[in-house]
Symmetry: C2
Subunit: 347 residues, 2 copies
């Protein structure tokens, strides 16, 4: 756009981005020395280092990422494969992205966003084109082709979720089964023999997200152990809304148990409209983030995205650094914890 006429002897001098060779010239050293100053892979005398660093600052030099990737065989980038139409909450996804990005930046890595819409091809592409050194795959399905690709691909992959075919792949997630168990047990402890469960959207279930059956299994198994009957209902934002609300809010002779897989505000609103006060006329437990649970004063287990993210990045960088063997810690899980709030009676 602009022509800088500081013509340093040459004819016309377009405003050019400085290269490491320019820095070298400016500092009076060789290009390789500049490179070693930046990487620290060979000893450099403090005077030379200073001269180079000053030159870098003077020219506002930044290394060319592409050239680095080409010569250095590493991109300093990790890719996150993410469903953009969030199947769990957007807030939860953002937390993952936040934690992973911060961890990445701490090591001067950047983050590339890949949409899950691309499916397996997206994973192949980012690795094949050497766009990244490692990949995090979010929200895998119960059986997910990307898990297969993860094994083939020549870059470390960590999967968030516990798919059924996850052998030999690094899988990490919150313990949804444990959460299901915990929530049912809490209601059982409060004396309920029957629990109404407001579950996931039919399309979420149909999409086969791995956490749905895991949670369900945990809940079901706890219900069997404790002799509790689970009555599953459609979620409050599904077509069956009215039916669900009617069934769930029907007046009962005594408190009954309600388990929500999200902090469905409509259900809570409907309860209060029917004169059912959580923690008095009805015991409500939920799978919900701390924020949501606090906002609605719900006894809940959070899905702990930060803890999961931390383990994900720890493993990812261990794999990148060669400090870990891929696929060894398959199916590692962050334990569920129940926080009691006003929506249940004290046991």
């Amino acid at each position: 756009m602009r022509i800088d006429d500081e013509s340093s002897g040459d004819v016309t001098d377009v405003a050019k981005v400085p290269t490491s060779a320019d820095v070298a010239r400016e500092a009076g050293v060789s290009q390789s020395t500049v490179s070693y100053v930046m990487s620290g892979k060979r000893p450099i005398s403090s005077t030379t280092r200073r001269r180079v660093e000053e030159a870098i600052a003077r020219l506002t030099y930044e290394p060319h990422a592409g050239a680095r990737a080409l010569a250095g065989h590493r991109t300093s980038t990790i890719a996150i494969v993410m469903p953009l139409r969030p199947t769990s909450s957007a807030q939860r996804l953002m937390t993952f992205v936040e934690e992973i990005t911060l961890a990445a930046r701490e090591r001067d890595y950047d983050v590339l966003l890949v949409t899950a819409d691309e499916g397996p091809a997206g994973l192949r592409r980012v690795v094949g084109r050497s766009l990244c050194d490692a990949v995090v795959v979010m929200e895998v399905g119960t059986t997910d082709e990307r898990v297969t690709i993860a094994r083939e691909v020549r870059a470390p992959v960590v999967v968030v979720g516990i798919p059924e075919d996850g052998d030999g792949v690094d899988c990490l997630d919150f313990d949804f089964a444990g959460a299901g168990r915990l929530l049912v047990e809490e209601l059982a402890d409060l004396g309920h023999r029957a629990v109404d469960v407001v579950g996931w959207d039919p399309d979420v279930v149909a999409d086969g997200y791995n956490y749905v059956p895991r949670f369900t299994r945990g809940a079901t198994s706890a219900a069997e152990d404790r002799g509790v009957e689970l009555r599953w209902h459609l979620p409050a934002d599904a077509p069956g809304l009215r039916t669900t609300l009617e069934q769930v809010c029907a007046p009962r002779p005594e408190p009954h148990g309600l388990l929500l897989v999200r902090a469905f505000p409509e259900v809570l609103r409907s309860l209060s409209e029917h004169g059912l006060r959580p923690g008095r006329d009805v015991d409500v437990v939920a799978l919900a983030s701390d924020t949501e649970a606090q906002a609605h004063d719900l006894t809940a287990t959070a899905t702990r995205p930060r803890e999961v993210s931390r383990r994900v990045t720890a493993r990812l960088f261990a794999l990148i650094d060669g400090d870990a063997v891929p696929g060894r810690a398959a199916a590692e899980t962050v334990p569920a914890e129940l926080v009691r709030r006003g929506s249940t009676r004290r046991p």
Copy 2:
């Protein structure tokens, strides 16, 4: 990890990623021909093209992004500078990311995520290192250093938000001022002379997000025009929660007007607990997404992230392609629209 012993004459043959030279050999053409087949920048006979494409498929060749960037002076990547602790809703941000990413992928561009935490340095870095061809900056402040950087930097930048110092920078956003005006006018049309406004968190206001004063100005100006008094309250999740709820839910002799800058569920819950039914005892309007507004049956204006995103990507690629001059369409705005739902009486 693995040694493939298809030894094609050589000693040992590590599983290597194929290059365009490998494709060329496989297809019996020169490397440059492979390149021209892929770019389409020179005519290629159909037979040669087919041979090359078959070779590419056979070897599952993918071009090396770094090498491309180095030789081609373009990265086919756009960067999104994003606050990860969302100041507006996570859902809204995700929608932006989704739209931008889809538009990018349509043109075989990838998306790099940059956290706003890095501030101006992040912008400088991604452009300086040639990590991207263009940048979208989300959620700029009223006065934002990144806007200054945007002018200096040697890559197109589009800013989401209308900062005060945005001259010469491409700024795009939803018309928050218009939304403020529209919402106040709706309540005025319903006959209210006084309106309680539940506003933003003090820290959001302190952070200087540009949309806050824009919305406020629109609301205030409409209030003056219509002789309406605006009473601002702290948001329902701020420390002043109890006070706000008391003031807002105080019984009135007749319906009063309530304007929410988000679909605060606590306020709505509190209203119903106080026996105030939106659309009957109180008229509630909100600045809220369609999803939220529908869930709570709120008369609202949505902030239309999809429309904004579409204009952003359109402009971004126009700038990349050289079809537009930077900074010309400064301060383009997507108009606000009011959707009436059950939380207000019919006018």
